[in-house]
């Protein structure tokens, strides 16, 4: 049996799955100050009368980190950066305690200016004195040469032995120094709080005699074992939309192109599944005001939900963005899209009489009947969703590309399905689908699709391998692994073989080695380095990944 729990902004949803069937679900209100209790009460409700031995897998998706960061409840971090030549580092917005150190490394990992160690010592003493115990040290191009980051860490730790120092290359090895600095800072800021939470969960689950492995869902739709996840606390951010998207993936036929429409009370999250693969955001996620390297699905949040307040603005309809309460037909104070849909018999929740009253009131301001007003509200809502959906496809088509073949191959794709999930009223989904010439689908258990998605998501993993044979070394972007390459003839075949070996090792370290065989090469490229008209070496780039997908145990839904 599989368990999935998604702690959302409003409710915490849980499902119990047995042999591809959802056999129990629960929904409890989310209490942000007592997340653990919410999780456990949602869990207890679905496992009542079930022997703990039968449970094989528990997956959690939580808003913990999202909330901690949003509310500024993470630990204060001092940032020491070595920016080298380029943009003026004073222009970065990376928090209050940022220190800029002299020294530089270039794009190929060569030291172009030695690290000013005495400056680091002074800074280390100063931040220690100010009481900082969390420090991030980040060099521009530090992922291609770790020595300066390592030296900085050593100096800081010497000055303040009880401090925790995180290095940029271990947070991310991808290009983009400001994002790496922000990611490193958030990682070290959130780690302790996250670890406490993970420990509490492990204890609470074990108290219930559940021995099954516990996983955490990440923003890229993949799962991580709970104990490994403490190394990657920030990756658990925004797992809610990822859970819904994985749910849709589980509940629709494989290999199709779908728009995921997750309608809540005040917002609708849109996501895309292209040929059976959820679309990733090409850049990392934005966390509060920080741009990061955290991989996440491309999710568009639209200020439109079942409870959005509807008003007349002249003879136009103004939708949202705020919520005045529940829908009028459910006893709320103001007209909402839910009332419009109720009056038009598109949904059956709430009192029709109240819905009519709400729409009649709106109609008076617009100079039309209640029915006409309801139709207008629905039209405006559908138009708004369509605009956003088309914008997402367009944005995908317009993503920059750096190779001739990429420009030539990208074709126009339009969805086969529009899939409605979530707690809000789903009456708009068939209308949106019709306008897109697609099939409208509201799957069984649509209101807990997020929890289903969590329950059946498999781990994801990426590995970006880069070798510079002229300089004789390789690096792995994700975890900063590096090593020597002595073979001057090291070519594409060798690079791919090495990347495959490294991803197996990485999977082992992450506690997901049974999925390592799912890894595929997504990109492999060689640049011959020519110096003085002859080849002096090669730069080899190989990307591998275990893409977001479903565990093989899942046999239900659209499978």
């Amino acid at each position: 049996m599989l368990i999935g729990i998604d702690v959302g902004g409003t409710t915490t949803d849980a499902v119990l799955i047995d042999e591809g069937k959802v056999i129990n679900t629960s929904k409890v209100p989310t209490d942000h100050d007592h997340l653990l209790e919410c999780l456990m009460s949602a869990l207890d409700e679905i496992v009542r009368d079930i022997s703990p031995k039968k449970i094989e897998r528990v997956v959690l998706s939580t808003t913990l980190i999202t909330n901690l960061i949003a509310e500024g409840k993470t630990d204060p971090v001092a940032l020491i950066i070595e920016p080298g030549p380029g943009m003026n580092p004073e222009g970065y917005t990376l928090g209050y305690e940022v220190h800029i150190i002299r020294g530089a490394i270039d794009y190929r990992g060569r030291e172009i200016q030695p690290l000013d160690e005495s400056q680091v010592k002074n800074v280390a003493a100063k931040i220690s004195e100010r009481g900082y115990r969390k420090v991030a040290v980040v060099s521009k191009f530090g992922q291609r040469n770790h020595s300066h980051e390592e030296k900085m860490r050593e100096i800081v730790q010497k000055a303040s032995p009880d401090s925790q120092v995180e290095m940029g290359h271990q947070a991310s090895g991808r290009l983009n120094f400001p994002r790496r600095a922000a990611t490193t800072m958030l990682k070290v800021a959130a780690q302790d709080r996250y670890r406490e939470f993970a420990d509490q969960i492990a204890q609470a689950v074990s108290k219930r005699n559940i021995k099954a492995p516990i996983y955490i869902l990440k923003a890229d739709g993949g799962t991580l074992p709970l104990d490994t996840s403490v190394e990657y606390p920030v990756e658990t951010i925004f797992s809610g939309p990822a859970a819904s998207t994985m749910g849709v993936l589980a509940l629709t036929p494989p290999g199709q192109t779908s728009v995921v429409v997750d309608i809540g009370g005040t917002t609708t999250d849109l996501a895309l599944i292209l040929d059976g693969v959820p679309l990733m955001s090409s850049d990392g996620a934005k966390v509060n005001s920080y741009l990061t390297h955290i991989r996440a699905f491309a999710v568009k949040s639209v200020a439109l939900g079942g409870d959005s307040r509807v008003r007349a603005d002249g003879d136009e309809i103004a939708l949202g963005p705020e919520r005045a309460g529940p829908a009028y037909c459910l006893g709320g104070p103001e007209p909402t899209p839910t009332d419009a849909m109720r009056l038009l018999n598109m949904i059956s929740i709430g009192e029709r009489v109240l819905a009519e009253e709400a729409m009649a009131k709106l109609g008076r301001n617009l100079g039309c009947s209640a029915g006409e007003a309801a139709q207008k509200v629905v039209d405006v809502a559908v138009d708004k969703l369509l605009r956003e959906i088309n914008g997402m496809f367009l944005a995908w088509e317009q993503e920059p590309a750096y190779r001739v073949w990429e420009i030539l191959q990208k074709e126009e794709i339009r969805p086969q399905n529009v899939v409605g999930v979530g707690g809000g009223s789903l009456g708009l989904v068939p209308l949106v689908a019709e306008r897109l010439n697609a099939r409208g689908i509201i799957p069984e258990n649509a209101t807990v699709a997020n929890a289903i998605g969590a329950a059946v998501a498999r781990p994801t993993l990426t590995l970006t391998f880069r070798a510079d044979t002229e300089r004789g070394f390789y690096t792995v972007a994700e975890d900063g692994t590096s090593g020597e390459i002595k073979d001057r003839k090291f070519g594409q075949k060798e690079a791919e073989a090495m990347a495959k070996k490294l991803i197996v090792k990485l999977a082992e370290r992450m506690g997901i080695k049974e999925y390592a065989s799912e890894a595929e090469v997504t990109h492999s490229e060689v640049f011959n380095m020519v110096r003085g008209w002859s080849t002096s070496g090669r730069i080899l780039d190989v990307s591998m990944q275990i893409p977001a997908g479903l565990i093989t145990e899942w046999t239900g839904g659209g499978r």
Partner: protein, 461 residues
């Protein structure tokens, strides 16, 4: 139309950027124009996070249409056979940015793309100076056609003389072409001297500023300040294009100048081009990552003072007295030409008679082609018409057989008479067996036709 340049000065800076390194395209594996050229530039600008800046908007390239190429070039044997997809994407990138700029989505733009184009001339038999088709010319004619702009200035800041762009606009009084470069006596393509000043009807609209080898920042910025900017102020262009080579850099392996990343950033800040298009620059590690970061920051209106090459210190290069005197002399001479351009034009037109004719020998270094041309321009009595042109071309590839062609070109703002006569010339030459290809390019009506006398078929672009 209102002057977009003036309007943009008032608006918040938003630079459009296309980075198209063509990581899967090379002339040959070891050629300077190879996959690796912008690899380290990619690393640097991505690591800087420049694409995340609110002042920078990254765009996706598209393919230019064959028609866009034919609007500028007489390609022999055809547009399709002369360009690869990479060429169409490099040219197409400039068109994407041109549209975004003209539609006011951005305030200026940089096409950081390869392959380059500024050595490609009106007639194109193959690759010369690493260029097949002229990206800037294709963009300028696209913009003038689509948006009705007339006066354009192209400033060629590549270390090599922009001979292709010069040749394409040589007779067009509405396109000001200014090139500063290392003296042609010391560098490819061996042209770009002060006496190349434009056709009889466009004297002074071509300005060549040959600079002595080893000219540092100081010298180049002096030329900009004293000569280029004042001329631009007089000319009042509706669009300024920087044909932005990066091989004036002090580490460039193919040239001998002493320009720095700071110098390049400063140049772009002072020149304030509406659209910059990458040309040459082959110091792929020591210059390009820093120069491009500097240019992007300068064009985005951001602080570039922290951009420097690892071995650069201010004052690294000094200008000698002789060099200074040389540059000041060139600048003063060209100031005189610019001042006297109207009289010089009148004299030149009078001297030319009904048709201006010149013979040209053109060498295609990359493809080993020798071309002989006779160019003939009608000295149209209509003051607003620059007159139609014909080119008789014959090109021998290596030791092989030669390809010949006859091209008829009608400028964008041509009079009715010139358009009719040009059409007659085209029709008459379609049965002239001396030529393998006959080409008709009427920019006024966007009528572009290539006729093969061997196959007896006409292709309309």
């Amino acid at each position: 139309m209102a002057n977009l340049r003036e309007e943009n000065k008032e608006r918040a800076r938003k630079m459009g950027l296309i980075f198209f390194p063509a990581f899967d395209w090379a002339i040959t594996p070891t050629h300077p124009e190879r996959e690796e050229r912008l690899l380290y530039t990619r690393d640097q600008i991505f690591e800087e996070g420049l694409m995340d800046l609110p002042e920078v908007e990254e765009y996706k390239p598209r393919l230019a249409e064959l028609k866009d190429i034919a609007r500028v070039h007489f390609c022999i044997p055809s547009v399709e056979s002369l360009v690869t997809e990479a060429h169409l994407i490099a040219a197409g990138s400039t068109l994407v940015l041109a549209d975004a700029y003209m539609n006011k989505k951005i305030t200026n733009a940089f096409a950081l793309v390869r392959p380059p184009g500024h050595h490609s001339m009106r007639v194109a038999h193959g690759n010369r100076g690493f260029c097949n088709v002229n990206n800037e010319a294709i963009m300028v004619e696209y913009i003038r056609r689509k948006y009705g702009i007339r006066r354009v200035a192209i400033i060629d800041t590549d270390v090599h003389h922009g001979d292709g762009t010069q040749e394409i606009f040589y007779h067009d009084p509405d396109v000001l072409f200014i090139s500063f470069h290392q003296d042609g006596r010391t560098l490819y393509p061996g042209s770009g001297f002060v006496d190349e000043q434009g056709g009889p009807k466009a004297i002074g609209r071509t300005i060549n500023i040959p600079l002595p080898p080893e000219t540092p920042d100081e010298g180049i910025l002096y030329v900009l300040e004293e000569l280029v900017l004042p001329i631009l102020k007089d000319f009042r262009p509706q669009l300024v294009v920087n044909s932005a080579g990066q091989d004036n850099h002090y580490t460039d392996p193919l040239a001998n100048m002493r320009f720095s990343a700071q110098g390049y950033a400063k140049l772009n800040e002072m020149l304030a081009p509406d659209i910059a298009v990458l040309e040459g620059g082959y110091a792929i590690e020591t210059a390009l990552p820093y120069v491009n970061t500097g240019i992007i920051l300068a064009m985005a209106g951001l602080d570039y003072s922290n951009v420097r090459e690892p071995d650069f210190v201010p004052g690294k290069f000094q200008m000698s007295r002789t060099m200074e005197a040389n540059i000041v002399g060139t600048v003063e001479y060209l100031q005189g030409i610019w001042e006297a351009r109207d009289e010089l034009t009148a004299t030149a037109v009078e001297r030319a008679g009904p048709f201006f004719r010149r013979r040209k020998d053109i060498f295609y270094d990359t493809d080993g082609i020798r071309e002989k041309q006779t160019e003939s321009v009608k000295m149209c009595p209509d003051k607003n018409c620059s007159g139609y042109m014909t080119i008789d071309t014959d090109a021998a590839r290596g030791y092989g057989a030669s390809e010949s062609g006859f091209g008829v070109f009608v400028p964008l703002f041509a009079c009715k008479r010139c358009r009719e006569e040009a059409r007659e010339e085209y029709e008459a030459h379609k049965i002239d067996s001396r030529y393998n290809y006959v080409f008709f390019q009427d920019k006024n009506s966007d009528n572009l036709r290539l006729y093969s006398t061997r196959m007896h078929n006409e292709q309309v672009y």
